[in-house]
Amino acid sequence: DTAVSQTPKYLVTQMGNDKSIKCEQNLGHDTMYWYKQDSKKFLKIMFSYNNKELIINETVPNRFSPKSPDKAHLNLHINSLELGDSAVYFCASSRIRDSGANVLTFGAGSRLTVL
């Protein structure tokens, strides 16, 4: 009964390939996110969706395309992979609150290695 689950956990691929990472949450949250954690462990937001609508789109190459088929799922597709895309990608979810900040629940991460 994992709250936020990501697949695959590990992904090793060649430069130029296209790959996808899937995320699902069973917490009933209405907002989902993709974060990237680089080799120096900095966590940076990439995208956020609220009820399937894109609400945050940071400066990310357009080779990265998120898709949210419903509010429980957020997938990340990456085209033409480059060496610099190697990182751990975390999916997270939260419930938008009327006041106060939102507590994010994170998945276990998907480690992408581009050779």
């Binding site: 966590l43 609220n50 106060g100 507590v103 994010l104 994170f106 276990a108």
Partner: protein
């Protein structure tokens, strides 16, 4: 743009040796400050939210405090199971975008 800086980058402690981690932040208006714990190979796990200067929260051997410019995470009499990376973060204006610091990697040796 919101900025979060954590220090030290790494901390080695003997079991029982108390210490503090620092998180300094620059934001246009504080809408809360989060502390997360991250174990190797796992995602960050929520610990605390602090909203106003002077606020304190505790959980087992951890206590988080907040001032107008920084937050501290105090670890009292740590045990080896407290070994982890501790991350602090501040939310953006809409409350749904967290800016994280680089983390403090804590190792507690028995």
């Amino acid at each position: 743009e919101d900025q979060v800086t954590q220090s030290p980058e790494a901390l080695r402690l003997q079991e029982g040796e108390s210490s503090s981690l620092n998180c300094s932040y620059t934001v246009s208006g504080l809408r809360g400050l989060f502390w997360y714990r991250q174990d190797p190979g796992k995602g960050p796990e929520f610990l605390f939210t602090l909203y106003s200067a002077g606020e304190e929260k505790e959980k087992e051997r951890l206590k988080a405090t907040l001032t107008k410019k920084e937050s501290f995470l105090h670890i009292t009499a740590p045990k080896p199971e407290d070994s982890a990376t501790y991350l602090c973060a501040v939310p953006g204006a809409a409350g749904n975008k967290l800016t994280f610091g680089g983390g403090t990697r804590v190792l507690v040796k028995p």
